[in-house]
């Protein structure tokens, strides 16, 4: 798929909680085909401290309205600057980048996300559902205020939720949930995105149960399109570029 550099227009900036916000951005042209797991490199304008672009996953895609939604957590200077975007602002992106989740032969999937790591899982869940896959989410958040668009996830399948403090769903992290402890073998595919420790733990459990598992990694990047070799992940095939051979890897290939 051809990569392009394009100016999008911000049409909405919705604050989800004290740290998360969702940018809806629109293209002047029809969107190219975008795949779940892929991402864009966002140029951060108006900051004199942010130099490189920032990689962000596609959270939701609406081809009819030529819009893409991005779920972003404010963690530092770049994401803070982007949080100030208002409708009418321009957002320059390089996209679409990276590979995508694979779903061949999948009939029953469990999508495990932690925090802002749920971002690529909504687009994935939607796509899987339209391919008649039985979709199940296990999503972990810090507390009740950090839940993101639960209704949208529910529209794609069953949703199980944990919060660290028990203010919603089961108390604990996704790793404490019953589903993970006993049920992984009931799925023919596990997808996961979130903090590295969570993904690694999920991967090991999936391996034990002999269930195929894919993780979407978030290594820091300089270019995002394969030219600098800064984003590498150690794998059984050597050091691979997360921005090209990833961000989605079969967890059997990853050397954590």
């Amino acid at each position: 798929m051809r990569k392009r550099v394009e100016d999008f227009t911000i049409i909405n900036n919705r604050q989800v909680n004290s740290e998360y916000y969702i940018l809806d951005i629109q293209s002047d042209d029809d969107l190219p085909e975008l795949l779940p797991g892929q991402f864009a490199e966002l140029r951060v304008d108006g900051s004199n401290t942010v130099f490189l672009r920032r990689p962000i996953s596609f959270y939701d895609v609406d081809y009819n309205n030529r819009t893409i939604s991005l779920l972003i957590q404010e963690v530092g200077k770049g994401t803070r600057q982007l949080a100030g975007a208002v409708p009418g602002d321009i957002l320059n992106m390089i996209y679409p980048l990276g590979n995508s989740f694979s779903s061949e032969g999948v009939t029953r999937a469990l999508l495990i996300g932690g925090g802002v790591g749920v971002a690529p899982l909504l687009f994935l869940g939607k796509t899987l559902k339209s391919n008649k896959v039985d979709v199940n989410f296990l999503l972990g958040f810090r507390n009740r205020d950090f839940l993101v668009d639960v209704d949208k996830f529910e529209a794609c399948g069953n949703v199980f939720i944990t919060t660290d403090d028990g203010t919603f769903g089961e108390k604990g992290t996704v790793l404490d949930h019953m589903l993970i402890k006993t049920g992984l073998k009931e799925y023919d595919k596990i997808y996961t995105c979130g903090p590295q420790v969570m993904m690694k733990a999920v991967a090991l459990l999936a391996e034990k149960e002999n269930t195929d598992c894919e993780a979407s990694l978030e290594n820091t990047m300089a270019c995002g399109f394969g030219a600098c070799l800064c984003c590498i992940q150690k794998t059984i095939h050597g050091n691979l570029r997360v921005c090209v051979e990833g961000p989605v890897f079969n967890t059997k290939e990853i050397i954590w």
Binding site: I94, N219, C223, A227, C228, L229, C230, Q233, N239
Partner: protein, 303 residues
């Protein structure tokens, strides 16, 4: 019409704009964004005698107006380059110049000898300035007798244009420029990255797995300009200048300081088509300022 062609050793570049090693992959990574055939030259990733995995992650830290990297010459080695990469890029209309790296003089010579056989590789850039490998690399570029020895040895093995890439991590750049000129370099290129550190105060740990890394981007531009200017006044061979070029004005500054051609590195990550904007901008600058030949700008700094 502006005459944009410049001469580097025996090699004519159709224009002075090229892309820097390690920042432009092998060229094809950029095909979606621009016509890579319009570049004067493409300097491809550092190539060594055999496969190298490079340094562990993390290898990159963003810094004020720049970045540190410690990629450490990850590449599949010269034989793989010849069998799998060269066929894909040899027919570009831009010169393909291979950045030759190594840990020992023998390794540099081995790589250069193999590349000498390739018809469509008209030049090499001898990288004696990589700060990110334990042995070799920068050692050759920061110790004058070693710089001379490796340049001499590779000179014997490589008959075409040899550009030697200098390290900025030295006190007197002109000594090195003169030394490699005397040892047979057809041209010099500079600067490679400046050695630096990024620290995460929260974790009290270095950001890079290797602690130190190489600084690039606009943060290094004034240092790079100064070094190009000093080198220009100490050698007769042409200079390929780089370090923090983000736009045409930056590139013209390098040419005024004495560079015959320029390389664009880190800027490609932010705007993958920036090199074409630099090329068009140099042409407009010449037109607007009454220069019919870009060569008239080389070293034209009025002091």
């Amino acid at each position: 019409m502006v005459d944009l062609a410049v001469q580097i050793g025996n090699l004519k570049f159709k224009n002075p704009v090229s892309t820097a090693s390690g920042c432009f992959g092998y060229g094809y990574e950029y095909e979606d964004f621009m016509d890579v055939n319009r570049l004067g030259a493409i300097f491809v990733k550092g190539t060594t005698g055999s496969n190298r995995e490079g340094n562990p992650y993390p290898r990159m830290a963003e810094t004020p107006s720049g970045m540190l990297n410690s990629v450490g010459l990850q590449n599949k080695g010269v034989d793989y380059f010849i069998s799998d990469i060269y066929p894909k890029i040899k027919d570009y209309d831009s010169h393909i110049i291979v950045n030759v790296s190594g840990s020992t003089i023998e390794e540099y010579v081995e790589v250069a000898e193999k590349l000498n056989e390739l018809e469509k590789i008209p030049a090499i850039e001898l990288n004696i300035s990589c700060p990110n490998v334990k042995e070799g690399g920068m050692v050759f570029g920061t110790h004058c007798p070693s710089a001379i020895e490796v340049t001499r040895s590779v000179r014997k093995a490589f008959a075409k244009t040899m550009i030697v890439k200098l390290s900025p991590n030295v006190t007197s750049i002109h000594e090195f420029a003169k030394a490699v000129e005397g040892a047979g370099a057809d041209a010099i290129s500079l600067i490679n990255t400046l050695l630096g550190i990024a620290i995460n105060a929260k974790t009290r740990k270095p950001v890079l797995s290797t602690v130190t890394g190489g600084l690039s981007g606009p943060a290094v531009k004034p240092v790079a300009l100064r070094m190009v200017w000093q080198a220009y006044h100490s050698v007769k061979i042409p200079i390929v200048g780089m370090g923090g070029i983000m736009n045409a004005t930056d590139a013209i500054e390098f040419i005024l300081a004495g560079a015959t051609a320029v390389q664009i590195g880190t800027a490609n990550f932010i705007d993958p088509a920036v090199s074409m904007k630099v090329l068009d901008g140099i042409e407009s600058y010449c037109l607007e300022n009454g220069f019919s030949d870009v060569n008239d700008l080389i070293g034209a700094l009025e002091t």
